[in-house]
């Protein structure tokens, strides 16, 4: 198991390098630069700035400098927000984003798995139909519209929850954003879980379990859930990355102080360092998540374990 994990980590390194390279050059293909403001800067100032950030060097040299610093754990300075480097900006914004995304992830996964199971066990009865409806809403309504509807209903009309903004440590402020994020995720998971659970309930080994008189609860808990979780688990890695990226938009809508704020402004201002830094961070998280998912998968499915 440990060897397997190690092999996976090693194999992720070239993937990471390729991804960084692609990001670096694609970003530079976009027109404009960090210092193209509304008011043009005097040429000498501009030249100084460009020299300061190595932007006057050939692109390949810039790339090598970037990689060299990256290997030392330095994501470089922000070119737009004076006096901050990228790591600082990330450490200010990212914990918040991670909290929101993780809450949505945990809540959505638990709800999705349980709802999918209930629907599978009650296939084509009312709980199943209710689920289909709720899932459809989650998948069909885009998050900005869902956010607006919830803000209107619970924030403005009922006044139960704040419609937006942030007060440090306030959980009510997180309820709506987390709901908007979690809903589609829970929807997808419950669909997956329902399908795989129905499949598992029809297998010979579940029939064997029933023939042993174990009782419905034990049949489900011990014999059906674990194999039914396999497709759900393989979805969790990509699922979490959807949540992390989705969080960027949702934070903007609700005016939350996550990394989304910096990322969106940085992208608009061509703040190369911040955009690249955030992208690289996300990439590492996604690679790590996929690794975790694969390990969980191996734990669930003994056939994978010894490969």
């Amino acid at each position: 198991m440990l060897g397997y994990a190690l092999r996976r980590v090693l194999s992720a390194i070239p993937i990471a390098l390729i991804a960084v390279t692609v990001c670096f050059f694609v970003l530079r293909l976009a027109p404009g630069g960090p210092f193209d403001g509304e008011r043009a800067l005097p040429p000498t100032v501009l030249a100084n700035l460009r020299a300061h950030y190595n932007l006057d060097q050939p692109l390949v040299v810039q790339y090598l400098i970037y990689i060299w610093r990256l290997l030392q754990g330095d994501l470089g300075p922000s070119m737009v927000i004076d006096g901050f480097n990228v790591s600082q900006l990330i450490s200010i914004g990212f914990p918040f984003t991670l909290t929101v995304a993780m809450s949505a992830f945990v809540i959505a996964t638990v709800i999705g798995v349980i709802a999918g199971m209930i629907a599978a066990v009650n296939q084509n009865k009312w709980p199943d139909y209710v689920l289909v409806l709720v899932v459809m809403l989650g998948v069909v309504i885009p998050n900005f519209l869902m956010a607006a509807l919830l803000q209107l209903w619970f924030g403005v009309y009922l006044g139960w929850l704040p419609a937006g903004g942030w007060v440090a440590g306030s959980i009510p402020h997180l309820v709506l954003p987390v709901t908007v994020l979690a809903w589609p995720h829970a929807a997808r998971i419950s669909r997956l879980m329902r399908g795989s659970m129905i499949e598992v309930l029809g297998t010979n080994f579940v029939r064997t379990a029933r023939s042993k008189g174990l009782g419905q609860r034990l049949v489900l808990a011990r014999h059906a859930i674990k194999p039914a979780l396999l497709p759900v688990v393989s979805y969790l890695g990509p699922g979490m990355s959807y949540l992390l990226t989705g969080s960027l938009a949702v934070e903007q809508i609700f005016g939350l102080p996550g990394i989304g704020k910096y990322f969106v402004t940085a992208a608009l201002n061509r703040d190369y360092g911040v955009v690249l830094g955030t992208t690289i961070l996300y990439m590492f998280i996604i690679l790590a998540l996929n690794l975790i998912v694969d390990l969980v998968y191996a734990w669930l499915d003994p056939k994978v374990r010894y490969r």
């Binding site: 042993k212 008189g213 194999p227 499915d301 003994p302």
Partner: protein
């Protein structure tokens, strides 16, 4: 000998979108304590569904009517919760495909021990210990190692032994084995049948052996029941049916089996195809394939009636049947 199972007028029906299929119709038979009953018949004749219904394991669109009385309880129509008191304890079942019948995500010992924990209130350690003893008893070498293995680490024959061990943990009164050797290679088949014979004798368990293979029946069964088109068409002692079949279908079956048709140089499969359950012929279901059918067979369905000592048949024809006259 007292009877452990009495089945009366049992039928199994499946609902399809706009019609229904009668997979089993009005079955009547008894199973005596400790005996081995072979159930034979072509594919689709209702063998599996008949016994799955007794175990309460029919597919969702299936329902059973009639009675299957074990001791003083009727298993047909019993709520699953109630059934769970008896399933795995007094009546157990082994399935055709050992490769898929064990849970791939659980260790062998877990799947065995849970039976004892559920039905005998064993604590986990004692249950595992007893399970390992049972694995040894069904001829599994290195039972401790195998107990800790996952099913995919075992061969098909080994898995079927595990299934046998699992089914016998509570020393059930009845064991239903649905084509337990079909998926195994021939050498393993013979060992497996010896094992069945020995263990069911040791435990006094009555064995229902569902099979296509009359060779298997000859070696192990006390009695046999021949099924055709969802009905039992002939029952009786194995020897009686083998040496003196009274139903043309039984005769046909015997002559389409290699070892038994020694007298002839070639095999003679029964002509025609098994009937579609949705469009059974008028009268006797077998009449389109029967060389002895006469007017009455096309008009009326023969009931299962006494046909000599300890045997029954569902056939109007009373004359002598010689092989070769079967069309």
């Amino acid at each position: 000998m007292s009877e452990v199972l009495k089945v009366e007028d049992m039928s199994v029906t499946f609902d399809l979108h706009d019609s229904e299929v009668h997979a089993v119709r009005e079955m009547n038979f008894t199973l005596a304590e400790g005996e081995t009953l072979a159930v034979v018949g072509e594919s689709g004749s209702g063998k599996s569904q008949a016994f799955l219904s007794i175990m309460g394991l029919l597919a969702k669109n299936g329902r059973a009517t009639g009675r299957a009385v074990m001791g003083d309880v009727d298993l047909i129509g019993m709520a699953p919760k109630q059934l769970d008191i008896y399933r795995g304890k007094d009546i157990a079942m082994i399935f055709q495909d050992p490769m898929t019948s064990l849970n791939p995500t659980l260790r062998v010992k877990t799947q065995l021990a849970e039976v004892l924990v559920t039905h005998r209130n064993f604590d986990k350690q004692a249950a595992i210990k007893t399970s390992i003893e049972m694995l040894e008893r069904v001829g599994i070498p290195e039972p401790v190692k195998r107990a800790n293995a996952y099913p995919h680490e075992l061969s098909g024959g080994m898995r079927q032994r595990v299934m046998i061990a699992m089914s016998l943990l509570c020393q059930p009164k009845i064991l239903i084995a649905d084509e337990p050797t079909t998926a195994l290679d021939v050498t393993v088949q013979a060992q497996m049948l010896d094992l069945f014979k020995k263990l069911t004798e040791d435990f006094g368990t009555a064995l229902v052996l569902i099979t296509h293979d009359l060779g298997v029946v000859a070696g192990i069964a006390d009695r046999m029941m021949v099924m055709y088109g969802g009905r039992a068409v002939e029952t009786g002692k194995t020897d009686d049916l083998f040496y003196d079949p009274r139903h043309p279908y039984t005769l046909g079956l015997l002559h389409s089996t290699p070892h038994i048709a020694k007298r002839t140089a070639r095999l003679d499969p029964i002509q025609g195809l098994p009937p579609s359950l949705e469009h059974l012929p008028q009268g006797c279901s077998f009449n389109p394939r029967c060389a002895f059918a006469f007017d009455r067979c096309h008009a009326e369905r023969p009931p299962l009636t006494e046909a000599g000592e300890g045997r029954q048949k569902a056939c109007f024809y009373e004359g002598a049947m010689k092989y070769g006259e079967v069309a």
